[in-house]
């Protein structure tokens, strides 16, 4: 019989076998990476909103407290979204003619609500409660980032389960004194660990990682 294969096939065969291993490993890595990439988590993604609302201006600039708009954040699971009314408190007086605010005035007149697109959107089978997190000393910034520096709102955290667990497993790494939960620029005066451990004691923060804490 004559040769069926060219001498080069030997190399090709070996290389392809070796390559297959690498490609497979590579694929696995790629998936893991994709899952955590901002493509999947939508970190930093700015969404189309009815109004170009700037937290930077209102929080950073004017220093309006979070609770002025997100009224129920301390008492309810849901932080609350300001009714058009709230906007109009000020905007009947200032920028009352601004074209940017036309939708707000429209809504106020017609009674048709503004329809926003959620930026921090957990899956529907996850039950998150704002009030208790604040009460235990989790700052707004910890999960929402420096909104006072965001002209347009976007996520800064992945909000994936492993991210939640990171804090639920080691709260001392993230908690802060209650009085500073709404502060944008709070920095621990002492070592976060020691502070954290003290607060965990003080606030009776349990490391809750069982399923029904979030899923029911």
């Amino acid at each position: 019989m004559a040769q069926i294969f060219h001498p080069s096939t030997n190399t090709i065969a070996r290389v392809s076998i070796l390559g297959a291993v690498f490609i497979f490993a590579g694929l696995l890595w790629l998936m893991a990476a994709l899952n955590r990439s901002s493509y999947a988590t939508e970190e930093g993604v700015v969404r189309q909103q009815p109004i170009q609302f700037s937290h930077e201006h209102h929080v950073g600039g004017l220093g309006i407290d979070c609770r002025y708009c997100h009224t129920s954040v301390e008492v309810s699971a849901f932080a609350g979204l300001p009714p058009t009314e709230t906007c109009m408190h000020c905007h009947t007086h200032i920028w009352s003619e601004s074209p940017f605010l036309a939708p707000v005035r429209e809504s106020f007149r017609t009674g048709q609500p503004l329809v926003w697109t959620r930026v921090h959107n957990l899956p529907d089978f996850v039950y998150f409660n704002h009030s208790i997190h604040l009460h235990k000393g989790v700052g707004c910034v910890t999960c929402h980032g420096r909104v006072d520096r965001m002209p347009l709102m976007s996520k800064t955290q992945s909000l994936q389960m492993e991210w939640c667990l990171a804090c639920h497993r080691a709260p001392e790494r993230f908690v802060r004194p209650r009085e500073f939960v709404f502060s944008m620029d709070w920095q621990p005066q002492e070592d976060q660990r020691t502070l954290g451990q003290r607060l965990v004691q003080e606030y009776h923060i349990a490391k809750l990682t069982t399923c029904s804490i979030c899923h029911r």
Binding site: P113, V115, D124, Q160, S212
Partner: protein, 1022 residues
């Protein structure tokens, strides 16, 4: 994390596109705008969609188009191994804030509770409605209300589903079906009324159900002052005219007996299902339980004798139950009365009166046995003079009621265990007579304007009254009703009625207490309440229900600050001190004279009518929760049946599901047979309310219409019934196929005597030695550790907990076909077992829900951690992790797990999605689910406690089933807290765990059932 498209809960905040828009509109609208926006809503596309939408329980396998598409996407995704990378981009979610913040201190994401009242047959039950972002989603009992005391029944629990029922009448219709408007109606009405003015309204007739509402009554009276010629007729298919007649016979005036079971030590119930049927059952059950429960050391326990022809829940818990045919009860009552010396011995002897009670009753010979029985019961009653009670049910003729009054009189019970008050019905009339005169008037053409407020007379009227055929001839007929039904079909005008959660109103509770109804949501379907319609008749159509009710009470109120009084009344849901005071009654001496002694029971079969235990007289026919709710005794769903005793069935050569033709006085209906142990021989029981020919998609095609046999003389019971086998079969859907405990100690029961001698008998019953030692290290649960105790001694099997659980946890209904396949979804079921001879069995009820075993067998076999323990010892079920191997269910010895074999969840009908509890995930196809001990309530309480820097108090967490239970048979709490109620009960000797020999260590345990038989009758139930 894969975003599971099928799992679509209605979230704390608007989450789904279509829903968001709907709710957005609901929320943003205020007062009149609200109104308008709902009309817009009616026009909107998604609204149209849900009007023409199949219901979940018709869930034909292909029906779920969405699911299919979604599934293919998912398949594609996961096959392309994008699945592994979890394609975790979530779809954009819209969020809709208010325009103006709502009044009334509503916090977004937190529920509010409003007191209101639900009426059934005109009588009120006070409830609290839980409102979530403006949506009423759950009914709880009103602790301040005398009829509720915090408990609810299955009807109240299921009433929220009726509120959102897309099959409800949507618009004013005329000419038997054409869509019209309220204003068009008003014009017609005005002209008609003008015509009537000339003849003092001689042509006006008003047909209502029993009316207790003071406001409505006043309106009606005003109407009659304007139109003296008009007349008012009342007809309710399940009415108390026998009770009234009986009282009139005994006392010569209209009074209603109110019972105090908490004071009664010996009770004789004659065909009286006082624990489960009627407007006062919740209160009576509560009071009865007071004497049934064994708190701590007390060993006092009442004794209940029941004589009835068809096994009822009251009969099921009786200490002695005597099944006899309806016609024989009178004789039996007479005999007891005679034994008590109520009547001097007449010609007839006990023997003569009693025999032959039953041709088929096996050993011992009926007469002897019953003679002995009667004697013993009479003695027992006599010994407990003043603390005994004789109760008679509405199915019995007036004579028997009168006899009972006489007996209670002799026994000195009046004023103690029974008091007499003004009837709650504003105008107690013989409703049959009332309807008959109306029909005669219609026949004679004297009726020109007929106004029907509620009810469904065309369907429910006695068969011998040609109501329907004369109704068509009435020139102008206005019908106010929730549904387009048999009656609306024959009326020129149909005005959609408001649901009680949409309307203002008032009504009296069983004891006369005025209960207020206030709306939690603007009418979803353009409805009008009865007061509003009457206002229109009074030519003040602009009056809103609110004004009408408030104005009436303003006029009634003498006090200073009406607004404060009104606020208080609304807050409490009732007007204080409006209960009728007890009246002095004098037993007439000659009452017996006019009472014809009952004819000795004729041989042959008898027919007994009963309101259906789950859909009552048919008014709940389109309520899926109630349709799929297993009937307490038969465990049937979606159908009624002809109930026969085993002996009778054998004698007739019939078996379950055989179709027979029932013939009574020339009328006939075809019905499937269902054999019920404990049914009296020679009696066929049929439940009313089925066989509707014009109803919604849920009720359509269920059961047979028992009204076709029901005539004004054979109103509750009829003689001379013929049963003709047809050889056909009709498949019924039952949730329990096997009725014996197979000698397993699941429900543990004993007698009071046994308990006194050997308190721990229940725990000693467990025949297999329990392994106390285990290989597993002890799990220490610091903090809370939740546990439950269910007291079988006070559980009546009334089903309230089952529906409460369904409402709280978004449990879907699956439909008859799936139930037949054994796929019902109830997280909490009530097992019913029989023990002893089939003609006189002992009956045991056992609510079974997840036991939350500490050594849960289900968890170990789950390959994906979809069910695991939490730190408080709950057996968590993580729906979004579940892949549906169903191994957990196989390994669950209690079989409490439920699986979504198909897409059962209601995710397509927007109006029904408004009903979803946002705190509980809506489960997708292919996911296992089960009782969670209402973990959402635990979480809420835990968070609240922590926000207030305290620990949870005992009783702070109340599970849905516990809240509903009228007898407090379900107790939930922290077993780490030695002072908690649940720990106290778990410490009692009666406490036992089911199947503990498997070392599952259930957190849910039971208190053994006790019976208190009369030694003189032996331990036999009879």
């Amino acid at each position: 994390m894969l975003n599971l498209p099928q799992i679509k809960p209605v979230h704390q905040h608007p989450s789904l596109g279509d829903l968001a828009t709907i709710r957005g509109r609901l929320q943003t609208a205020q007062g009149p705008e609200y109104w308008r926006s709902l009309e817009e809503l009616a026009g909107s596309q998604e609204f149209q969609e849900f009007l023409h939408r199949e219901f979940p329980q018709q869930a034909s396998e292909w029906q779920d188009a969405m699911g299919r598409r979604r599934f293919l996407q998912l398949m594609g995704a996961s096959l392309a191994l994008a699945g592994v990378s979890a394609c975790s981009r979530q779809p954009d979610e819209k969020i809709v804030p208010y325009v103006r913040a709502p009044r009334g201190g509503m916090v977004p994401g937190k529920p509010l509770y409003f007191a209101t009242a639900m009426t059934l047959d005109g009588v009120a039950l006070g409830v609290l409605a839980e409102s979530y972002m403006g949506r009423p989603i759950k009914i709880e009992g009103n602790p301040q209300h005398p009829a509720s005391l915090g408990a609810t029944d299955a009807f109240a629990q299921a009433s929220v589903l009726t509120l959102y029922d897309p099959d409800r009448a949507q618009a004013v219709t005329t000419q038997r079906g054409q869509i019209s408007t309220w204003n068009a109606f008003l014009t017609t009405l005005r002209t008609a009324l003008e015509a009537q003015h000339l003849k003092d309204g001689a042509g006006i007739r008003l047909l209502t159900e029993t009316v207790t509402s003071p406001t409505l009554v006043q309106q009606i009276h005003t109407l009659f002052t304007r139109f003296p010629g008009a007349s008012w007729h009342q007809y309710t298919p399940v009415n108390d005219h026998t009770v009234q007649a009986g009282a009139r016979m005994a006392f010569g005036k209209d009074v209603t007996p109110l019972y105090h079971f908490e004071k009664a030590n010996v009770i004789l119930a004659l065909e009286a299902d006082f624990l489960a049927s009627g407007p006062s059952t919740l209160r009576y059950a509560h009071d009865f339980a007071q004497k049934r429960r064994l708190p701590g050391t007390s060993t006092a326990m009442n004794r209940l004798y029941v004589v009835e022809s068809s096994l009822s829940l009251t009969g099921a818990i009786a200490d002695h139950r005597l099944p006899v045919r309806p016609s024989a009860i009178a004789g039996l009552a007479l005999a007891v009365a005679r034994a008590l010396g109520v009547i001097a011995n007449g010609s007839a002897t006990i023997q003569a009166q009693v025999a032959p009670l039953s041709r088929l009753a096996p050993y011992p010979p009926a007469s002897e046995m019953q003679a002995h029985w009667i004697k013993t019961v009479a003695e027992d009653l006599w010994q407990h003079r003043g603390a005994s009670l004789v109760v008679v049910g509405r199915q019995q003729p007036p004579l028997v009621h009168a006899l009972a009054h006489a007996m209670n009189n002799v026994l000195g019970n009046v004023g103690h265990t029974v008091v007499y008050t003004t009837p709650v019905a504003a105008q107690p009339v013989d409703q049959l007579g009332s309807l008959r005169t109306l029909v005669e008037d219609m026949a004679a053409g004297r009726v020109e304007l007929l106004v029907i407020l509620g009810g469904n007379p065309v369907y429910t009227a006695p068969a011998d009254l040609p109501f329907a055929q004369h109704l068509i001839r009435v020139p102008l007929c206005l019908y106010l009703g929730l549904y387009a039904n048999e009656t609306s079909a024959l009326c020129q005008w149909h005005i959609p009625e408001t649901h009680y959660l949409e309307a203002w109103g008032d009504a009296r509770a069983y004891d006369g207490t005025v209960s207020l109804t206030q709306p939690l949501i603007a009418p979803l379907y353009n409805g009008k309440s009865a007061p509003e319609l009457l206002a229109a008749l009074l030519e003040q159509p602009e009056q809103s229900g609110r004004e009408i009710v408030q104005e009436y009470w303003r006029s009634q109120y003498e006090g200073a600050d009406f607004d404060q009084f009104w606020r208080r009344a609304l807050h409490d849901g009732l007007i204080a001190d409006t209960a009728f005071p007890p009246q002095e009654v004098q037993l007439r001496t000659d009452w017996l004279a006019e009472a014809a002694t009952p004819a000795a029971p004729s041989p042959g079969l008898e027919l007994l009518f009963q309101p259906d235990p789950t859909i009552w007289d048919g008014c709940f026919a389109n309520n899926g929760w109630l349709q799929e709710l297993p009937k307490p005794i038969t465990k049937l769903t979606w159908d009624n049946a002809a109930l026969l005793s085993p002996a009778t069935a054998e004698w007739l050569g019939l078996s379950n599901e055989a179709v027979v033709e029932l013939r009574l006085q020339g009328r006939s209906v075809r019905a499937p047979v269902w054999i019920v142990p404990g049914q009296a021989d020679d009696v066929v029981t049929v439940h009313l309310g089925y066989g509707r020919w014009r109803t919604g998609r849920v009720g359509a095609g269920t059961g047979f219409n028992a009204y076709t046999l029901r005539t004004s003389e054979a109103f509750w019971a009829g003689r001379g019934l013929e049963v003709h086998p047809t050889g056909e079969r009709y498949l019924l859907a039952t949730t329990q196929h096997h009725h014996s405990m197979e000698g397993r100690h699941l429900v543990r029961a004993g007698t009071l005597q046994q308990y006194l001698e050997q308190p721990y008998f229940a725990q000693e019953m467990s025949h297999i030695p329990q392994p106390q030692e285990t290989l597993y290290p002890p799990q220490d649960y610091e903090g809370y550790a939740w546990g439950m105790v269910i007291d079988l001694n006070t559980c009546l099997g009334c089903n309230a907990c089952v529906v409460a659980c369904q409402a709280e946890n978004n449990i879907p209904i699956v439909g008859k076909r799936e139930v037949q396949r054994g796929r019902e979804m109830h997280w909490l079921r009530i097992d019913r077992y029989y023990k002893g001879p089939p003609h006189q069995p002992e009956v045991y009820h056992q609510p079974v829900l997840c036991m939350h075993c500490e050594h849960a067998p289900c968890e170990v076999v789950c390959p994906v951690y979809a069910t695991v323990h939490n730190h408080e010892g709950l057996n968590d079920m993580v729906y979004n992790r579940c892949i549906g191997t169903r191994y957990c269910s196989n390994n669950c010895p209690y079989k409490v797990r439920r699986f979504n074999f198909l897409h059962y969840a209601e995710t397509h009908t927007p109006s029904l999605q408004l009903l979803h509890n946002p705190e509980v995930t809506v489960r997708s196809r292919g996911v296992m689910e089960k009782c969670t001990y209402c973990v959402q309530r635990i979480s809420a309480a835990r968070i609240q406690a922590q926000l207030e820097n305290r620990t949870m108090r005992d009783g702070e967490v109340v599970t849905a089933c516990q809240a509903a239970c009228p007898t407090g048979a379900i107790i939930f709490g922290d077993i780490n807290d030695p002072s908690s109620h649940v720990v106290r009960l778990k410490g009692t000797p009666l406490n036992y765990g089911m199947l503990t020999e498997l070392n599952t260590r259930p957190r849910t345990t039971y208190l053994a059932r006790l019976r208190n038989p009369n030694p003189a009758l032996g331990d036999a139930p009879g």
